[in-house]
Structures are given as structure tokens and as C-alpha cells.
Amino acid sequence: MTLPCGIRNYTYAEDMAIVRTGTHWVLLIGFLILLFTAPLYFNNYWLGVFNLIGITLIAAVGLNILVGYCGQLSIGHAGFIAVGAYTSAILTNRLEMPFLVGLIGAGLLSGLVGLLFGLPSVRVKGFYLAITTIAAQFIIIWVINHWGLTGGGNLITAPYPSIFGLEFRAESSQFYLIIGIAVLGVFFAKNLTRTKVGRAFIAIRDNDLAAEVMGVNLLYYKLLAFFIGCFFAGIAGALYAHWLGSLNAEQFSFTESILYVGMIIIGGLGTNIGPIFGVVFIRVLQQVLTIQLVPFLEKSVTVLPSGFATGITPMLFGLVIVLFLILEPRGLAHRWSLFKASYRLWPFSY
């Protein structure tokens, strides 16, 4: 870690601190205040977008731990999110459990399913693992679509979340719940990657054989990465279920899984700030495209082909993913650190 000029660490506590300087504190607290007072300045529509961003962020942070830090490519993340969503919906709706039980249960069950499909990761990697997770995605969605408990292809409803009698009904109150958990999740991930576990993950990503020779227990850490990544997915899924109110397996399609991988790549793999950039970028782009741009174009240009509205989104997203991989493989996080460096050094170049 490079320190700004003139800053020195005198104690270990200072050396390990996440927030280092007074300016950091001011910026962080200012950002948090701004974030948590957002319901005051934004209308319900934008709060809904923020809620979606928060939910996606939780899942993406989990995927980033799995793919970005541990190097285990998973293209079935939407499937694991679906497991969480349906678990929580069934626990709270059919079995009438409290919301917190549903939330934790969703995380745990998703994590366990992740463990199950992560088992091959002990023997295979790269493309083989990618294919396994794709298979997981299709098997999970098939089971959800046909099992009677999960609605058998019909819509299934989930009640509004409530914790100890406090009900999160309005978009703005859900905003506090979702963003609160998202902030906690990001903080957890940030800390996790600085611990022994995180370092083991990075060692496995960089070279798993070398890591094993150095004494990293591959079985344990790879499965742990799958568990943590899918636990996050489960939590995100539960929040999604209770935020939306009704579930349909269509919402967790394979393309959604691809989009999740795209998000963490656009943000920057293996960085803590990356998922935030990626998720905000993709979700805001999605909103702008589908809500603002397409209706505008359809109104002003009359000769558009009829597939324009549905085709433009996947086309543009695919293009964005490919272009990012070719032109900026380190993602927006790299741009951000370049920006920070140039800001600090301005007006000098180094």
C-alpha cells in the first residue's frame, strides 16, 4: 500500500487501519450521511433503483470474493441468488417464520448449495469449473420451475420484511434495510480480504499449486470461498424476494449470471471498490437505456425495427463487457486509483 507523502504510521493500529487520515474520515462520514439521507432528495422511482443497486451490490461483492479473490470462475451466480430468494420466500410465507430467520436461512442454504456445486473445484479449474457452475444454474432453475414447494413455475409471493415488529413497507424504509446490509457486506468483504483467509484466497488465485505447496489447504479455502460467495448471493436473493414481493424463475436467468460476471469485470476484479463501480455502472446504464433512452428514441425515430427495444440492452451490455476486457481489463477500479494518484500529485506528474 502506498502512503501519501508526509503520512507515516507509528503504531500497528495505524498501519492496519482502513480509514487512515482525517480527510478520509470526513469523506467517509460525509458519504455515509449523504447515502443515508438519500430518501430525502430522491423520489420513489430512484429509490427503487438504489434498492436494486444495493441488492445487486451484495451479490456482486460475494461473486468478487469467489472470482476476483479466489479465482474460481462462477457463471451461475443468478442460480444461487434464486436459491436464497426462494428459501426466504418459503420460510416467511409458507412456514410463517420471522424475516430474520428467512434472511439467515437463505444465506446458509445458498451457501450449502454453493458448497455442493463447488465440490468439483477441488479437482478442476478454469473452463471446467465455469461449465460446472453453468450446469448448476440450469439445474437450480429447473428444480425451482418444477418443484411444488417453489411454486412449480408459478409466481410465489413474499411478505414485506419486518424485524421485531418494525415493518419495512415503503421504498424509503426498505432503502435503509438494503443499503444498511450492503454497507455491512462491503465492509465485511474489505476486512475479509486483509485477513489470513483473504491472503489464502489470493494465493490460490495466483497459483493454486504453489499455494498448496506453501501449506494452504486448497479443499478448505476453495469451499470456503464458494460458501462465502454464495452466502452473499443468498442474502441478496432474500432481500430481492422481500423487496419485489413476488418471485418468478425468469428473474434469475443465465443472462443475469453473465451480467454479474460482467459487473465485477467492469468494476475491476479482485478490488474492494470494484463491485461498487461495476454494479452502479451496469444498473444505471440499464435504467437509462430501458426507461429513458429507448422510449425517447421510439418516439422520435419512427423507423426503428421492432426488436430495437428488447435487443439494444443485451447488445450494448455484451459490447461493454467485451470492450472493457480488451481496453481496460483492470476495470474502473484501476481508473479510480489512477485518478486518485493524479489528484494527489497535481500539478506534478509524479
Binding site: 472470482v67 468439483p120 465455469a130 453453468i134 440450469f138 418444477h146 443472462t255 469485470i265 463487457i321 467485451v322
Partner: protein, 294 residues
């Protein structure tokens, strides 16, 4: 018994098409170790292109099919040149994700141009039936098996005797050594992509002439990965053997398990096979088990 034979024959012929598509995958994987996850979308795109040529442009078949081949060659060249070439020597993660992004992009293009999403190809093969023992089989299936076998033989001969085929095998073996010998590796890469797209396009025409053009073809492309996995990633003969196995498992399982399980069990069998193979024998039946060194 008649039912069983019916399932076996449909299974084998559909499996042959899977094997053909899987061959398109193995071609690229062998020469450049790029996992092409956009295969299903390429299959779908070339099926729609065939539809456009045959139905929308009303071209006769002897003009339309060469045009489809030319289109597939062009598609393969474009993909390799503009998406994969800049990523040479990048980590496998980027190589896999770039094909995912490509697939997403192609899917968008397909919705853009052919928004009605379901259609049927005009009749290509005769629809009469033949009686094989107690089973009744449409000529289509026999044609499909015949065409697949012909392409396998042609490809095998190409790889054994043609200059480019030998260069491709050499590239698969050792890229550095090949480059040192003066073989243009980049040209080998783009040739393998062009071949892969042509093979996938033929597979697409065959399978959509039986089952129509739907978005399910993307899943067909993904299912053909189970063929690659079962046969072994870098083995052509593996793909040819595993294709009919997968096809058989799919049609027999779909025929006999549906009553006991839920509907649509047919579509999930290849994915279950993937998981089983992964746990038991990850490198497949004929795949080369690579020993890794640090």
C-alpha cells in the same frame, strides 16, 4: 420395444448434432485454448441467417447454403480478429468472459433483427418415414446422421493430411515451438475459429430443421458442452463417441423418466451428466490429463 428403438434412433441423431457442435468447440480449444461459451448463440445466429436466406430472400438452397457457409467463415474471422486477438496471452478468466460477452452481444443482435423469436426452417430433408424394425423413423434423422458422419470424416482427413490441419495440431501441441518453426500462429487461430463457426452453423441448420428455430438453441449450444466434457476437451474422437451417448441419455431419460420426475427432465440431463463427470473423471473419457508444474 418399438418405443425404445424410436428413442434410440432420435437420441443418436440428435447426439450426432451435439457432437458436431462440440467439434466446433474442440477445434478452437485445441488450437488456442479459448473456451468458446458463445457457441449456442453462434448456432442460433447462423440458423436465423439460413432462415433469412431461404425464407425472407427466397433463395434456392444451392445458393443459400454456400452463403451460410461464407457468413459463418466471416463470423468466425470477425470474432477472432476483433475480440480474441487482442486478448492473446490473457488469463483464462478473461478469455472465457469475453466469449460470454460476445454471446450476450450476439443474442442482442438476434433479437434486434429477428424479434419474433420462434420460426421454422422450410423443409430441407424429405419428410417421408422409413420403418426400421418396429420403429418409424423420419428420413430427416437419417440425413442428419449421414451429414454429421461425412463432416467427421472430412475433418479427420483434413487434420491428418492438409498442411493447415497439421499446423493446427502442431499449434495445439506447443505454440512456442510452432512459432519458432515459422507457422503463423495467428492465422491458425483465425482458421480454427472460422472452421468452428462453419461446423456450428451446419449443426444449427441440422438441429433447427428438426426442431425449428427458438432461443432453446442457445441451450443446445450449452448442452453440447456436456459432450465436450464427457469426451474430453481436446479429443475429437471423444466428441464423436460422447455425442451419441449424451443424445441417448437425453432421449431415453426424457422418454422414461418424465413420468417419475417432473416435465422437462430431458433438458436437464446433459447438465447433470456434466456434474457427474466433473466429480468422477474431470478430464473425460479420452481427454489428456495434464500434469501441472509450478
Amino acid at each position: 420395444m418399438a418405443e425404445f428403438l424410436q428413442f434410440v434412433i432420435t437420441g443418436i441423431s440428435v447426439g450426432m448434432v451435439y457432437a458436431l457442435i462440440a467439434l466446433g468447440f474442440a477445434l478452437v480449444w485445441k488450437s488456442s485454448s479459448v473456451a468458446n461459451l458463445a457457441l449456442g448463440q453462434i448456432v442460433l445466429l447462423s440458423s436465423w441467417f439460413t432462415y433469412s436466406m431461404l425464407v425472407q430472400a427466397e433463395l434456392p438452397q444451392y445458393i443459400a447454403f454456400p452463403l451460410v457457409v461464407v457468413f459463418a467463415l466471416f463470423l468466425g474471422w470477425v470474432i477472432e480478429r476483433f475480440a480474441l486477438r487482442p486478448l492473446i496471452a490473457q488469463p483464462i478468466l478473461s478469455l472465457i468472459t469475453v466469449t460470454l460477452g460476445l454471446g450476450y452481444f450476439i443474442e442482442g443482435v438476434i433479437t434486434f433483427i429477428w424479434p419474433w423469436s420462434v420460426d421454422a426452417l422450410p423443409q430441407i430433408f424429405p419428410r417421408q418415414v422409413v420403418h426400421i424394425g418396429p420403429a418409424v423413423v423420419s428420413w430427416e434423422y437419417i440425413w442428419v446422421v449421414g451429414i454429421c458422419l461425412t463432416i467427421f470424416v472430412l475433418l479427420t482427413l483434413f487434420f491428418r493430411y492438409h498442411r493447415m490441419g497439421i499446423a493446427m495440431r502442431a499449434t495445439a501441441d506447443d505454440q512456442m515451438a510452432v512459432q519458432a518453426c515459422g507457422i503463423p500462429v495467428t492465422r491458425v487461430f483465425s482458421t480454427s475459429w472460422m472452421f468452428a463457426c462453419v461446423v456450428a452453423a451446419i449443426g444449427g441448420i441440422l438441429i433447427s430443421s428438426i426442431g425449428g428455430i427458438t432461443h432453446g438453441l442457445i441451450e443446445t449450444g450449452l448442452k453440447s458442452f456436456s459432450v465436450v466434457i464427457l469426451g474430453g476437451l481436446d479429443s475429437f474422437s471423444g466428441a464423436v463417441v460422447a455425442g451419441p451417448i449424451i443424445g441417448l441419455a437425453e432421449s431415453l431419460g426424457g422418454g422414461y423418466l418424465t413420468e417419475h420426475l417432473w416435465a422437462g427432465v430431458k433438458d436437464i440431463i446433459p447438465f447433470v451428466i456434466i456434474i457427474i463427470v466433473m466429480v468422477i473423471k474431470p478430464y473425460g473419457l479420452f481427454g489428456e490429463e495434464r500434469i501441472e508444474r509450478i
